[in-house]
């Protein structure tokens, strides 16, 4: 079992639909192409995607339709065009993930319905990284209420499933870094990171990733959420999942293939390849949960975690 490489990729459709409109978007497109080649050179047999563009509420959803086909239009960027997709999922591995999630206390289910709205981020990532469906994929949702413990346990559950199935996977987190965008139309040529502060935090994060310090980045997620994220969900989770799935360490060779603004957001393509060389590990100080037992409601009783099954879920 192994995760052969880990990736951060952005989910905005611009590099796919209109890279020619901005030099930075073109650079992202080129970096996506580099990423595709790098993944192709590996002896992988599976792509595992965690997308912050796919929110869920009922636990964690896992895409399991063998061959989703649709013409996708983004709710925001509809004028950029439609994306036809014909994807290849791995229902068997999706089911293994679900079982592994449940074994660790998570509420999880697979979804396999024609017409299910696969999110823009996952569609763009798969179109650009896996255009011929060479590898099957699974896509995991991002629960809007989940926080660190739950997301780390989700990453560990995916790792369990990988170990049990003896597969060789590439891990992909689809997420922006800073996600504040311009709320007015912009001239694409004038695109820039929304604020200097966002830019500085993005660069600090990328500096860590360049050094292979994935676990450190994971443990700085709360800070990053406070400083550089619009608070649409509870926290900044993609690195919690990625680090947990990849084994919770700093032993990577990091490479930042691109970092560019897309309508004000921080879009980066980063590759992390496991090595035996450990980078610095100054931030190893947080809890390391192995199973999920619900949120702790410090103001209520221990059994107050929201769940429709009442006491069974606490």
């Amino acid at each position: 079992m192994s995760v052969l490489s880990g990736w951060l990729v952005p989910g905005m459709p611009h590099p796919y639909l209109c890279p020619e409109k901005n030099r930075g978007w073109q650079k992202l497109r080129t970096a996506y192409e580099t990423a595709r080649q790098s993944i192709e050179a590996l002896d992988a047999d599976l792509l595992v995607i965690y997308s912050t563009y796919w929110p869920s509420i009922i636990g964690h959803q896992i895409q399991a339709l063998p061959n989703p086909v649709w013409t996708h239009v983004d709710e925001e960027w509809h004028e950029l065009g439609s994306i036809h997709y014909n994807l290849r999922m791995d229902p068997e591995f999706a089911e293994s993930c679900r079982e592994a999630c449940v074994a660790r206390g998570l509420h999880a289910r697979t979804v396999a319905y024609h017409g299910f709205p696969i999110d823009t981020g996952s569609v763009v990532a798969l179109k650009l990284l896996n255009p011929d469906n060479r590898l099957p994929a699974v896509i995991l949702s991002s629960n809007v209420y989940s926080d660190r413990a739950e997301t780390i346990v989700l990453g560990k559950a995916c790792r369990d499933a990988l170990a049990q199935s003896n597969r060789r996977a590439v891990a992909i987190s689809v997420s922006a870094l800073s996600n504040r965008l311009f709320i007015e139309p912009i001239d694409p040529a004038e695109d820039r990171i929304h604020s200097l502060k966002d830019d500085e935090w993005n660069r600090k994060y990328l500096e860590f990733l360049q050094l292979g310090r994935l676990e450190d980045v994971s443990q700085l997620s709360r800070q990053f959420h406070r400083e550089a994220r619009v608070h649409k969900v509870t926290n900044f989770k993609p690195f919690w999942w990625l680090a947990a799935f990849m084994g919770q360490n700093n032993c990577y060779r990091g490479e930042v293939h691109a970092y560019e603004p897309v309508h004000g957001t921080g879009a980066a393509i980063v590759e992390l390849t496991p090595t035996s060389m450990a980078a610095r590990d100054l931030e190893y100080d947080e809890d390391d949960p192995d199973a999920y037992a619900g949120d702790r409601n410090v103001l209520g009783s221990l059994n107050d975690a929201p769940g429709m099954d009442g006491d069974d879920e606490s």
């Binding site: 009922i58 239009v73 509809h78 004028e79 139309p185 929201p306 099954d309």
Partner: protein, 299 residues
């Protein structure tokens, strides 16, 4: 051209559970029961509309989420299947609908003139969001009237609820002006729940009503406070409280839908008809009608 009017305004929430439980032929999953009180409330809303003539449904949905301003459907006809991304087990709905593009453009233009960032959605492959579809279906299942669908600009998250509400009120005013100028008779729908803390697990049988209740008492108290203000016609106070209510109960009013409706109705001082209140997977939902024309179309 005679002056247009707002015939009726409604708080018309969109839990997919209500469609699921109703078993319309368009929806693939089948249920044996569930959430009857809310569904009976929708029945009463439909009855209150039955003797009124109207030309168009104008719906503001929290599930068409846009960051770059407010968007409006600008394609005359849509046909597709809508699968709820959160509850795909409950809602896979085959829809076919017409859009009143002329009125849509008029509201878009009016809002732009008032300083808002607006955009028409012209991509024919676009999938209409499930909030719009559910609220329209439950209010008027015949689907024989065109709709105008308005996106929710997510400014509550980008800035704060006060900023969001200021824009939603302006959009409501723009909607009223455009409807009056259009000569059309419109029904306005705010497609949102009230308190909005969900359970994060689902019972094996989703319609098992022994598991259904509001997430916690605090949410319920807030919902009752807001409904009381609606019933008493104290809509200015309702608007004043909206940011606190929204933040305290993580209410779906963060979309701006209810604020938009109240402003479009010009802050009615007559009492609204609360047709039903109930919880859906822990969230608070009310079906509420403002029988606007019966009160002279004025506040």
């Amino acid at each position: 051209m005679s002056e247009g009017s707002i015939v009726l305004g409604a708080l018309a929430p969109h839990p997919p559970h209500l469609i699921y439980a109703e078993n319309p032929p368009q929806n693939e999953p089948r249920a044996e029961c569930g959430w009857e009180v809310l569904r009976w409330g929708y029945e009463r809303l439909r009855r209150s509309l039955a003797d009124k003539s109207f030309d168009v449904l104008v719906v503001f949905s929290p599930h068409w989420q846009t960051m770059v301003g407010t968007h409006f459907l600008g394609v005359p006809h849509f046909k597709s299947i809508s699968v709820d991304p959160i509850f795909p087990n409950l809602f896979r709905f085959h829809y076919e609908l017409d859009v009143d593009v002329t009125l849509s453009e008029a509201i878009c233009e009016q809002a732009a003139q008032m300083g808002m960032v607006t955009k028409m959605m012209r991509n024919p492959d676009f999938r209409v969001d499930y909030g719009t579809i559910i609220s329209c279906h439950l209010t008027h299942p015949a689907w024989d009237k065109p709709i105008v669908a308005i996106s929710s600009h997510r400014s509550a998250k980008l800035f704060n609820t006060e900023y969001m509400q200021a824009n939603a009120l302006k959009l409501g005013e723009a909607t009223r002006k455009a409807v009056l100028a259009s000569g059309k008779r419109a029904v306005l729908l705010a497609s949102n729940s009230l308190s909005h803390r969900h359970f994060v697990t689902e019972p094996p049988l989703p319609e098992d009503m022994s598991k259904e209740h509001i997430t916690h008492h605090g949410q319920y108290l807030w919902d009752m406070r807001m409904l009381d203000l609606m019933r008493k016609g104290k809509t200015r106070e309702l608007i004043d409280l909206m940011p606190d209510f929204t933040d305290q109960t993580i209410a779906e009013t963060d979309s701006g839908a209810l604020s938009w409706l109240i402003a479009a109705l010009d802050y009615p001082e007559y009492g609204a008809d609360v047709h039903a209140y109930g919880s859906v997977i822990g969230t608070g939902n009310a079906v509420v009608g403002w029988d606007h024309e019966s009160y002279g179309g004025r506040s």
